[in-house]
């Protein structure tokens, strides 16, 4: 992200200001100066525009904190043909995302402080949104040796993840969570028992059986999550399940939270808005891990988001190209891009009446920011001036040729959305839209 230079204050007027951190949803304005919020909400109206301020009339559109996406895979370093930090940041900005948290499974894997430093510096020089790298939880993501959690954290790693690989060795996981606790480090874990999921490539059930595809039972996720939650209790570590997909996982999580454990969970936008039937005739853009589940499961996950059991919504952005996706379903890579469509897809849940707008935005702003200990994701005075302006009712269709991401593997090709991002501001600077 480019460094800030002096610029005139900006007043966004005639706005519907939503700040989930304060549960604020009111007509008002947002005043920004020197890269931070001066005031946001009805009170910002009273102050008027300061001398020399740029005034932008939002015409009733929503001004909310810029979104925080804590599960983004970028191809830099190692697979720049799929996505660079620069291209990912442009895609993020187009989707109203002002902070991305990157996954450590690049090539090389981010398991060394020098590599954390590399990502931060590349981001500073080339990216137009904030980038916070996660570092590898274990060396080479092999699930065996602990990485240098203290040094990596000092270098700027915002959390620790084992990427797409679950740590199967319970003893290793126990020690990781114990050690990470000393550094107040958040452990983010992909919950999938690889022995149980085996060669599975889609949700186990009738659909996979007719297609003749090897399948993954829900229990692969539930067993791994339940183990992790017991270890969280044993160790007192800070734990975040990366992306859940099953009803029983939600029940286990709710029990752990009720018992007072420091545990949270995310869900990908794909698992909230798509189901296994979308795979249709072997469409590989819908192949992901965890796999898309049944409609019943999807609805249960939406309910878990609405009642607050699930804390965070992520894009699970994972750029893949034709070399990895244009294969028979079982042989294609997992993953879908999602930065540009995160908010619009999420608004489907609001328009369907399943989730209120405040809850949706909280799961994309202050909830992940709080979990990661970042000052963003809120419009309180003094917070970084990261803002998304969007019209929740504007219809649009996703045109594949206009995707900013270098990879085009979107599950929302030609999808119709209601609700579009109009402007994105990072550190008080409006990004070109």
């Amino acid at each position: 992200m480019a460094r800030e230079t002096a610029q005139p204050p900006i007043l966004l007027t005639n706005a519907r200001v939503i700040d989930p951190a304060r549960r604020l949803d009111a007509a008002g304005a947002v005043l920004v100066a020197d890269g931070v919020i001066v005031a946001a909400g009805p009170e910002a109206l009273n102050q008027g525009a300061p001398e020399g301020a740029t005034v932008i009339d939002l015409d009733g559109a929503i001004a909310a904190p810029g979104l925080v996406d804590m599960d983004v895979t970028v191809g830099e370093p190692g697979a720049e043909h799929r996505e660079t930090l620069a291209s990912a940041s442009l895609a993020a900005a187009a989707g109203g995302i002002t902070t991305i948290v990157t996954s450590p499974d690049t090539d090389p894997i981010i398991d060394d402080p020098a590599l954390v430093d590399f990502v931060l510096r590349r981001a500073r020089d080339t990216a137009c949104v904030r980038v916070h790298p996660m570092a590898a939880l274990t060396k080479r993501l092999a699930g065996e040796e602990m990485s240098e959690i203290g040094l990596l954290r000092e270098a700027g790693a915002v959390a620790f993840s084992n990427g797409n690989h679950s740590i199967t060795h319970s003893g290793v996981m126990r020690r990781l969570m114990t050690y990470a606790r000393d550094f107040d480090a958040l452990v983010v874990h992909h919950t999938e028992d690889p022995d149980l999921s085996g060669t599975g490539v889609m949700n186990e059930g009738l659909n996979a059986s007719w297609k003749g595809l090897p399948s993954t039972p829900r229990e692969a996720e539930i067993i791994m999550l339940e183990r992790d939650l017991r270890l969280a209790k044993l160790t007192g570590g800070r734990y975040h399940a990366r992306s859940l997909s099953c009803t029983d996982s939600v029940e286990a999580l709710a029990r752990a939270k009720a018992a007072g454990l420091d545990v949270t969970a995310g869900i990908s936008i794909n698992h909230l808005t798509l189901n296994e039937n979308d795979i249709g005739p072997y469409r590989t853009f819908f192949k992901m891990a965890p796999p898309l589940r049944s409609e019943d499961e999807r609805r249960a996950m939406v309910a878990a988001l609405a009642d607050g059991t699930i804390d965070v919504i992520v894009s699970a952005h994972d750029p893949q190209d034709v070399e990895t996706k244009r294969h028979p379903f079982a042989e294609a890579a997992d993953g879908a891009i999602g930065l540009e469509t995160l908010l619009s897809a999420g608004l489907r849940l609001v328009h369907s009446g399943d989730v209120d707008l405040m809850t949706l935005l909280a799961a994309m702003t202050c909830n992940p920011a709080n979990r990661l200990g970042l000052p963003v994701g809120r419009l309180s005075a003094g917070a970084p001036a990261d803002i998304v302006v969007f019209d929740p009712d504007r219809p649009w269709v996703l045109d594949k040729t206009k995707i900013r991401s270098r990879s085009k593997n979107t599950p929302f090709e030609d999808a119709r959305f209601t609700g579009k991002v109009l402007q994105t501001m990072v550190a008080g600077r409006l990004l070109p839209s």
């Binding site: 186990e204 059930g205 009738l206 996979a208 059986s209 007719w210 297609k211 003749g212 595809l213 090897p214 399948s215 039972p217 005739p281 072997y282 034709v322 070399e323 244009r326 294969h327 028979p328 379903f329 079982a330 042989e331």
Partner: protein, 318 residues
């Protein structure tokens, strides 16, 4: 096009044959009727027809197959097509050429029909999207093997005079079997009662919702059966994983005279081949009077001729 359509083209209005799923019962019956005629052609001295004269048929096999590939080759040649066999060994796939690359390369040579076998489910669908010619699925992973189901149906109909209301027991590795899936769909479409018999580790999830009755014991599964269809056990990936041993499998699920006695006295035995004698079937049964296994091979050529002819009616420049 409409001025030139034949009755078969009207009865089978599809460009490809990717699976039994999606076919209407009358379309299946039209193919079977045509195959009856092809049986007669194959039994004559002069076996050659000109339906596919000037056409190029490529048999693209990513998985080794003797029987299916030669069956398609003979069927194509009897209809006058130029047939080219292309066996893509797994080693050349590992050189980096993807299925799509192969498809694009072949497509540039202007084939009229490509017959494809691939080890991955859905691979034939993918290929069909990327080429300009007709595509026939000769087996894709554990998904479908439509010409096998058609030849099984033809064999059954020639002996029992019908498919509807027959009881068919399909026995063995249902989980990994494309033959089982295609047969379950076809037999249900034509009104047969379908039972499956297998150890539970070899049944797909949700099998009870796939239009079959599920039995864990052979004698129970074979009760009232008019047809007993045995499936091949893929021994290399079985032992210790899905079943404890081959001898235990034969003891409980191998078809022998004792188990077959639970079926109707006039029950007939089928197997898609190649057989593992002594694993899923007793040699005495495989080569016995109730066995239709040899005849299935003959019907295979006839059914494939019928399918090729049906697709040829939709080829461009006709």
């Amino acid at each position: 096009m409409s001025a030139q359509t034949s009755p078969l083209a009207d009865a089978y209005p599809h460009r490809h044959l990717l699976g039994i799923e999606g076919l209407q019962p009358h379309e299946i019956l039209a193919l079977l009727d045509r195959a009856e005629a092809a049986v007669e052609i194959s039994r004559q001295v002069e076996k050659k027809k000109a339906v596919l004269r000037g056409r190029t048929q490529i048999n693209l096999f990513f998985e080794a197959s003797t029987r299916t590939q030669s069956s398609f080759e003979i069927a194509g040649k009897r209809l006058g097509a130029d047939v080219m066999n292309m066996s893509v060994s797994s080693s050349s796939v590992k050189k980096g050429e993807t299925l799509i690359d192969t498809a694009a390369t072949l497509n540039a040579m202007h084939p009229d029909i490509i017959v494809v076998r691939h080890h991955a489910a859905g691979a034939v669908h993918l290929l069909a999207q990327k080429v300009g010619c007709s595509v026939i699925n000769a087996g894709d992973g554990a998904h479908e093997h439509p010409t096998q189901a058609l030849l099984d149906a033809l064999t059954i109909r020639r002996h029992k005079g019908k498919i509807a209301r027959l009881t068919v027991a399909i026995c063995g590795d249902i989980l990994h079997s494309r033959v089982a899936r295609s047969n379950i769909i076809l037999l249900n479409a034509l009104g047969a009662r379908v039972k499956v018999v297998a150890p539970s580790t070899l049944l797909p999830n949700g099998i009870r919702q796939m239009g079959v009755e599920v039995c864990a014991k052979m004698r129970e599964g074979l009760a009232d059966a008019d047809i007993v269809m045995m499936l091949r056990l893929q021994r290399e990936r079985m032992a210790g994983a899905f079943i404890p041993s081959v001898r235990e499998y034969f003891r409980y699920y191998g078809l022998d005279a004792e188990k077959l006695s639970a079926a109707k006295p006039d029950a007939l035995v089928m197997h898609p081949g190649p057989m593992n004698r002594g694993v899923e079937i007793d040699p005495e049964i495989a080569d016995g009077p109730q066995s239709l296994i040899r005849e299935q091979v003959e019907m295979g050529v006839a059914v494939r001729m019928a399918v090729l002819e049906a697709l040829s009616a939709h080829l461009p420049n006709r």
